[in-house]
């Protein structure tokens, strides 16, 4: 048994899972609070990754790209909510699916017009471009450790925000009982904007962090999007903690699967989802029965 290899895969799985959490938490909040199915969430991730590419090409530093991605995400999220999604809260799922599908196409075409259709790699920031030795025969990428660390910090921040602040409590209530939002009155607008902005910023941030690891290429959002939905389904709609644990689970299952059972690698996640849904149709931590 190749222990070093196993450790590496476990850490990879952890890192992948945490990135998934960043993406999925925004997705689950947006659906939980506003009832919006946002298929374009993966495109936001893509936008983040390409932002990293553009900024890194121009300035050479990923550290500028990260805050830029977050700030851009907040702005983009506010714009999207204010001008587009706000009109779709009461619309049928079909309409939302098609609207967000259209956004995917438009984002992809926008990317194509701006940057073209090539594969691009984004260099790991020089400061983190080394391996940290863990044991005798095993060392692991410093950058990946950094990603793990940053994502855990974000997870902690989200936990504190949702569990400890007033706004967070309202958001939690709204996610569990959307009817409550009407009761909250004026705050409803603020909550919607906040949730959307935060969700978008998280997706973009994940994209920035992921860029050096996965490169940037057309339709890169698709893969992450669908897996994120699986995370949300398994974790339960509207549940950020559910998204956290299920993201880790999926990250590990997918990574280990691809490493040790490559034939069924792509399928493993969906088989897991099917199994969970058979056992618990509303997800492991589902808010609604």
């Amino acid at each position: 048994m190749d222990i070093a290899g196993l450790l590496a895969q476990l850490l990879n799985g952890l890192q992948y899972g945490l990135l998934l959490f960043l993406i999925a938490s925004g997705l689950t909040l947006v659906f939980g609070v506003m009832g919006i199915i946002n298929l374009a969430h993966g495109s936001l991730f893509m936008v983040g990754a390409y932002t990293a590419f553009i900024i890194t090409s121009a300035t050479g530093s990923l550290w500028i790209a990260l805050p830029a991605g977050i700030a851009g995400g907040i702005v983009l999220g506010i714009l999207l909510e204010r001008f587009l999604f706000r009109h779709f809260y009461e619309r049928e799922h079909l309409d939302q699916v098609l609207l967000t599908f259209a956004l995917i196409l438009l984002f992809e075409e926008g990317r194509s017009l701006l940057v073209g259709n090539d594969f691009y790699s984004v260099p790991i920031p020089a400061a983190l471009d080394f391996s940290i030795p863990i044991t005798e025969g095993f060392s692991y990428s410093a950058y990946r450790f950094a990603v793990i660390g940053i994502c855990l910090l974000v997870a902690l921040a989200m936990f504190l925000w949702i569990e400890r602040t007033r706004l967070g409590a309202k958001i939690r209530a709204a996610a569990e009982k959307p009817e409550m939002v009407d009761v909250l009155g004026i705050d409803a607008r603020r909550i919607h904007l906040t949730v959307f902005a935060v969700g978008t910023a998280l997706a973009l941030a994940a994209g920035v962090l992921a860029a050096p690891l996965y490169s940037v290429y057309p339709n890169m959002g698709d893969g992450f999007l669908i897996i994120s939905f699986v995370v949300v389904v398994i974790g339960g709609l509207g549940s950020v903690s559910g998204a956290f644990w299920s993201a880790l689970l999926i990250g590990l299952v997918d990574t280990l699967g691809k490493a040790y059972l490559p034939v069924v690698a792509g399928l493993s996640v969906y088989v897991l989802m099917a199994a969970v849904l058979l056992w618990r149709p509303s997800g492991l931590f589902g808010a609604r029965p």
């Binding site: 199915i37 799922h93 196409l105 438009l106 075409e109 017009l113 389904v233 149709p281």
Partner: protein
Amino acid sequence: MLPETKYGWLGLGLGALALALLPLFVHPYYVELGTYALIAAMLALSLQLLVGCTGLVSLGHAAFYGIAAYTVYLITPENKGLSIILTLPVAVLVAGLAALVVGALSLRTRGFFFLMVTLAFGQMVFFLFHDTKIGGGADGAFLMRPALSLFGFDLPLTRRQRPIAIYYVGLVQMVLMYAGLAFLLRSLFGRVLEGIRVNEHRMQAVGYNTYRYKLAAFVIAGMLAGVAGHMWAMHRGFVNPELVGWHRSAEALLMILLGGLNTLHGPILGALALTGLGEVAQIVTERKLLVEGLVILFVVLVLPKGLSGLRLPGEWRRFLPAASKEAAQPAAESLPHG
């Protein structure tokens, strides 16, 4: 769902006639394009049984379409196409079986979860064909097209005639599919599906095991998607994983929305319109996807009821199928009179 007046049926009849006469008047390129449109129409029609009739929005429907096409590829030997008499039933059966398995699992969920589960199953099928060598992997594979033959007797067709014959095969299938669905919707079974769409909870309260009915609809829809997929294999002679991708499923949903969610002929209209639009767009720009995205945006924002929902001034309404009149008065959906 069906035309409520004589004028409505007349309109449909004229439309079918126009489609039937098409090959006589246009360049062969448009006959082939028309066949693609008919295939898309059949896929959209099959999905409409789920979406418009039963209220089940599925994002994985293209999986059964693709599975049928791949089935044709898998059973066809290297050097000679098989008879359609063999390939069609086999492809449809396999698609139906796949739908049975997927449906049995997916229909344990509702609403958003159902959407996601169907999406995920579609992706499973995608990876099955993309990552393995079953169907030529990511690049896809060519196949010997099913032949129009009956018990070894080949229909004698010249190279020029074949596309036209294929077009008519497609048209006949589509018309039969429409007729079959119309018949189904008027039946006791179809009425239950409508009740489920309107208020599933209430239907359970009056004694229906709604899961069974939804599963039946899911399987039928899967088989009909298989008819469309088989036609694709017959026309294009090529299969690749894109056939089962969720983009394809989303496009089918778009055709339904574009043509009108609450009519049976809506999806056909939507498919024809979208195919036509694609052609027009290509003249203007190479960016087909950009145009598609903008069209969807436009439809969703401006035409929520699709083309069937466009209003005309009062007098003109007499000449339209009932769907657009429905938008004017809340007519009771009841048993067809007369």
